[in-house]
């Protein structure tokens, strides 16, 4: 009985101390701590913690506190901190597809005066990604691009080759559906930002402008997608950047585009060595991919702005970019940094570099949400409701124009 009481008392003390431990931690925070947020996978964090951070910490006598925060959540956190007047984050690495709300809400610093700190060797298109209305809000960090994954075993079984143009893509989709009884080519058709990336690529491949939406190229792209739609995997309607990995690994898709982090999930962790990748297909006019990746920004009110700027310079350096390329297979943001990846990663790394050659940034617009919605609504009406392509695109062209005028552009 006494022992029971002792155990209960000890456990209670442990729980109570834990309750207050959270409060005490705050005050123990050191001034020379650089707090940064990134959205990374476990392998990526390991490289950051073991190979990237220590050299900077040693050189600048500081401690880097790196926190995992996804891009969508960065906005929520910064908004709360800014409103409270207590900014606790010094630097953010943010997905370049989710920058507009940060600028619109005034959550990140205008860093135009520090533009000269960008090395001359940085790929120029990466710099424009961080600009809004001619002002620089973000430094380049990591370029990224979707690659096309395919199931080599299944392609060999049916005597198929990865498609290099739209005609071949349609043919592959038709053959796979005929052989398997269900579509096996996937696109991300969840009608949100995931789909927008693919729509941008199709429209540009046909020579169109997604911001115009009813030009010849856009009409060609949507007409092609309408033709392709019946041969696609039914899982396309559930495919986003996360679920696509599962669909490829579980073989409900034999061909689909996704971000390169899928290589680790599908091939390394999932052991699906038959899943290969290539740079993708071209449209009737050209090959085009959307330039994604992460950029670096400084939140308004950052407690360690100067240290954050130093760290940004360090991340853009040749030394770091080469390490990131070699250890993680990330394409380099610099023209003079090359990495040596492990053998198993090489074909995927080549696919990334092949896709990078045709990667184009998306325009930074304050009315981005309207463009995003227009592109997706148009696709929904055309491929699901079967509406006329030209009339539908005219309607959504008008909506984009209205949004543009409303934004004073």
């Amino acid at each position: 009985m006494k022992l029971k009481k002792l155990v209960a008392l000890t456990l209670s003390l442990f729980v109570v101390s834990g309750f207050f431990a959270g409060c005490a931690k705050k005050e123990a925070q050191q001034p020379a701590t650089l707090r940064i947020t990134m959205g990374l996978g476990e392998e990526e964090w390991k490289v950051m913690r073991e190979d990237i951070f220590p050299a900077f910490e040693q050189a600048n006598n500081c401690k880097i506190e790196a926190i995992q925060v996804e891009s969508g959540d960065v906005i929520k956190k910064l908004e709360a901190m800014k409103q409270a007047g207590k900014m606790e984050i010094d630097l953010i690495a943010q997905d370049n597809m989710a920058l507009a709300p940060l600028v619109e809400k005034g959550l990140v610093e205008d860093i135009s005066e520090f533009r000269s700190r960008i090395p001359a060797e940085i790929i120029p298109s990466l710099v424009t990604v961080g600009e809004f209305d001619g002002k620089l809000y973000f430094f380049p960090f990591r370029p990224n691009v979707e690659i096309n994954f395919y199931n080599e075993a299944k392609f060999n079984q049916y005597g198929l080759k990865p498609p290099t143009n739209w005609d071949e893509l349609l043919q592959v989709a038709k053959t796979l559906k005929e052989k398997e009884g269900v579509g096996k080519v996937g696109i991300k058709a969840v009608f949100d930002g995931n789909t927008t990336v693919q729509l941008f690529e199709f429209i540009r491949q046909a020579g169109g402008d997604p911001l115009v939406l009813n030009d010849e190229g856009s009409i060609k792209a949507y007409t092609f997608l309408k033709e392709l739609w019946p041969y696609l995997s039914p899982d396309s309607l559930k495919a986003d950047w996360n679920t696509t990995n599962r669909f490829i690994a579980e073989e409900s898709m034999y061909l689909a585009a996704n971000w390169p982090f899928g290589v680790n999930v599908i091939v390394k962790d999932g052991g699906k060595k038959e899943i290969k990748a290539y740079g993708g297909f071209a449209g009737p006019v050209k090959a085009s991919k959307v330039l994604g990746g992460d950029v670096l920004g400084i939140p308004v009110g950052s407690p360690n702005k100067e240290l954050a700027l130093k760290f940004i310079e360090y991340l853009m350096s040749k030394e770091v970019q080469e390490k990131l390329a070699s250890k993680l297979g990330w394409p380099s943001a610099r023209t003079d940094a090359y990495g040596q990846v492990e053998d198993w990663q090489k074909p995927y790394f080549d696919a990334i570099n092949e896709a990078m050659k045709v990667a184009e940034p998306r325009p930074n617009l304050v009315y981005w949400a309207d463009v995003d919605k227009a592109l997706n609504d148009a696709l929904k009406e055309i491929v699901i409701d079967g509406k006329d392509v030209k009339a539908t695109l005219d309607k959504y062209h008008q909506k984009i124009e209205e949004a543009k005028q409303k934004a004073g552009k």
Binding site: K76, Q83, A84, V265, D269
Partner: protein, 273 residues
Amino acid sequence: MKSRKFISKLFFYLGIILIVLFMTIPVYILFRVSFAVPEDVLTSHPKFLITRFEFKHWEQVFRSGNLWPPLYKSFIVATFTMVLALIIAAPASYAISRFDRKIKYAIILTLFFTRMFPNVGIALPISVTFLKWNLMDTNLGLVMAHLIEQLPFIAWILVSTFETIPIDLEEAASIDGAGRLRTLLKIVLPVAAPGLAVAAMFTWLNSWNEFTYALYLSLTTKTLPLQIYYYVLRGGFFQQAAYSTILTIPVLIITFALQRYIRSDYLGGAIKG
């Protein structure tokens, strides 16, 4: 007549079996994937039964350093939310339950009025206030945020519980010389134990699973649901499953520990003779 009875019984048990399977199969699949050899499940025809065990995924989760701090934080926060909610709500609910019917329901409705707004809508202003009070990234801040959510529900459950306890019991205690507080502690609360257990379990589980406030108010140490969110977005299929399976273990323990207090005959002894 006998065969009709047999058929209805058969359907009854069949229905129960179906419901049980419906509830347990997803948990089994989670468990199965967490121990799966990749080629057994990453195929268009995955194997349902476990034929080979792979412990690597659990090992990866245990070694990742992403398990113990969130587990500890979630446990501390859920336990304190439960304890504080009971301490605050039990006496309050007891008092409310003894009010006139109209006043009682007016108070309950007022409490629920605060829950009419979705969490996502009010999480930002609440987080801003907590940030100003230096409660960011603290267990205390998260407990307070969770109390906002849980108190109206727990009060509602406990008012219903106390209502069912006859006032005669308190009068009898009073005749025997017990004061108000003694009556509450020695007579009312023990009789209300099943209701208290339900309320405690409900609060603990809700706090354990809470996501929105944790997202706003956590920075360096995450709670378990936030960490699972991370694995779902960034991790492999097997780590997701292993981590999610681990999350269910404390829930099973707490539910098992508290469910023994839940009895339907709790007033049996109290109102006899």
